[in-house]
Symmetry: C2
């Protein structure tokens, strides 16, 4: 594995050649920035993953068409928070295109070089007058130290911004940087639920290889988290590779350089995905669910995600209740191949079930083991070599409170 070094307080603009700028447009929130620009000094190879929801917001439709036209020359990303531009019909599509045009004009960029993301309330037309006034303000604010401001401007119900960056040496010699930023705290579920994320690098990676590597990284990060099982209309993960460091371009996904880059890309995506879970709506605990011994990796993943989504498991975790029965039940209905008599369960490192039978344990000790901010649940299905790890959070009063009161 190649040498890899996290950058303290890293962000998108830790990557040389990327600048960010933000502005307060008053789209929905008062007294905070809600428009964010990211500019690459060189045209970038791009790859993107989008929500699998059949209801797709205007920017998602715009970006999908854009990626089909131009996955090798993106220059900028514009993001607004407070309004998702979803369920807004043809006018919404026009608005997404107008946002991209305004950015291209303000920065003197060619057509088809600006990617658009929106997040917030759905079903309300974007206040385009405000957005278009904000674009030149954000453009003027572009700055090589504004990655953290970018991360703050894209927040909705997030309680804190999410950014990171790392450097790594490619086997062929170049030292590259990867930085990322994300938002999302509810509706988080595999397949890109109400989640916006962007990862940028100065490495040279061909679009097809970037796409393949991004999908692999997402499987082990953004697609391995669950907060409430709901997916949304706007979720998008974008990767941009500028090639500024001049490495021999990564053209396949199995070269030594590609594999080293994948390790770094996965690390950045995993950090951001875990930050999203830690900031889950109403979450009081960060929960790692590790399944091993499944017949296949896909089975392990299905089992782990089913446990991660169980409302009964998640409420028990809120109560620090070592409720092995609910975990075993979730494994039982997950669809994964299962022989209950082979299952071994650990809660917080303590073995609670073996051969399908619970082991005697002290309730108070077990409760104390779980009454902590980070909890590990391990299930060994005892059948094969398949394993998977997913991350989730508990289900609290505050989750209900936040979602009974917030209009998506």
């Amino acid at each position: 594995m190649s040498e890899q070094e996290w950058i303290a307080a890293g962000s998108l603009t830790s990557v040389p050649g990327f600048t960010a700028g933000t502005a307060a447009c008053g789209i929905k929130y008062a007294g905070r920035d809600d428009l964010a620009l990211l500019l690459a000094e060189r045209p970038c190879a791009a790859a993107a993953l989008f929500t699998t929801n059949k209801v797709q917001a205007a920017p998602v439709l715009f970006d999908k068409a854009l990626m089909a036209r131009n996955a090798h020359g993106l220059r900028a990303l514009v993001v607004n928070s407070g309004n998702a531009n979803a369920c807004t019909g043809n006018a919404g599509l026009d608005d997404a295109a107008a946002m991209a045009d305004a950015v291209a004009q303000a920065l003197g960029l060619p057509a088809d070089s600006v990617f658009v993301m929106s997040t917030g309330t759905i079903g309300v037309p974007l206040p385009m007058e405000r957005v278009l006034k904000g674009v030149p303000l954000a453009a003027r604010a572009l700055d090589p130290n504004s990655g953290p401001a970018f991360a703050r401007a894209i927040m909705t119900t997030d309680t804190r911004p999410k950014s990171c960056a790392l450097r790594l040496a490619l086997p062929s010699g170049a030292r590259v940087t990867i930085g990322g930023s994300a938002k999302g705290a509810g509706m988080i579920h595999p397949n890109m639920a109400t989640l916006l994320a962007v990862v940028v690098t100065d490495a040279a990676v061909a679009p097809a290889a970037l796409d393949a590597l991004l999908r692999q990284a997402a499987d082990h990060s953004f697609h391995s988290i669950s907060i409430d099982g709901d997916t949304s209309t706007n979720d998008t993960l974008l990767a941009l590779a500028s090639g500024a460091v001049g490495n021999p371009a990564i053209e396949s996904n199995d070269s030594p350089d590609a594999q080293a880059f994948l390790v770094g890309l996965t690390a950045v995506c995993t950090y951001l995905a875990q930050e999203i879970v830690r900031d889950g709506e109403g979450a009081t605990r960060f929960v790692t669910i590790r399944v091993r011994g499944a017949t296949t990796a896909a089975d392990a993943r299905q089992a782990a995600l089913t446990v991660a989504q169980s409302a009964l498991v998640k409420t028990a975790l809120f109560g620090a209740d070592p409720n092995w029965g609910r975990v075993l039940c979730a494994l039982g209905y997950s669809g994964a191949t299962l022989d209950p008599e082979r299952v071994v369960l650990h809660f917080g490192g303590m073995k609670v079930l073996e051969h399908g039978l619970p082991l005697p344990f002290d309730e108070k000790t077990a409760h104390d083991l779980l009454d902590v901010p980070e909890v590990l649940i391990e299930a060994d299905l005892g059948l094969g070599a398949g394993e998977a790890t997913v991350w989730t959070c508990d289900f609290s009063y505050d989750y209900v409170k936040i979602n009974a009161e917030y209009r998506t």
Copy 2:
């Protein structure tokens, strides 16, 4: 449709030839009955549906084997609450068999004529000494008016007993009675999650026809409700047909008699299933989700159940928030064929979305429409003739409270 008449305060023992008896064994609860017997004066044709969870409790394994041996001569059902006899290994299987044997002995019944159900905590051996002491007490209490007592004795987190009965005339002339009882308030989900139910009749129905009719009735009742999406180890729906009224036995599921009987059977099952949702853990609203215009009935059902399971939809309903966006999103990720621009949504009879676009409505009016005990959400997908109705409840603080504190 045949004439059908509900029986006031109907229960299992509204059906001539069935008696019930209960006893307090102190299995877990103090000061209440926790063992219930149901006795048929004649051998009954039987059909049963069991949990699809791969982790199955001892009584489920016992009953599956019993049904394979004897689906035409059941005489009795014994149910205990407070302990599920699940995750109890071979000793648990022995305990389930011993319960059946004790009942057969106390009532002078042949072997293989007693069905067993258990519900409550899992992973704890049944206190057999208490159970076996209780069986003769319950047997001595057998009485043609104890259907309501039976319904109370099988409760766990239920806040109220669930029973009903109706009479109907078969086209061939006989007047038959169908009665039922159920328990369950959490872990309710299609495929028989922590739910025990028994339906009895004095009609003559052959086992194969009874099985086919029970499956059809369950699809439109117990398999069309969701409380929290979790399924459990013990869920069982049993149907017993004594044939005491002497009608020409229903041998197929498509004769006029069969169809008339199915209407009644479905009505009883639907009543019980809806009662379970109304008593959903922490529920403040009973929610009907009706999907029409789907390409197929299966698509409609999948769409409706996905909406019914969405934590975001359910928390919004708790807040009486007319959050059409969350419903549309859930339709979008349900897997059902969908064209967002054809979807029409009504909340409480008020149209809120058409052609994929929200309609203007007064927030206060909409909130008031939803701030009621029974809410109707209707989605017309505009694609075909498929339709389905499912029932669910909202997701409240109390759901979290109950499940953070209760050890299943």
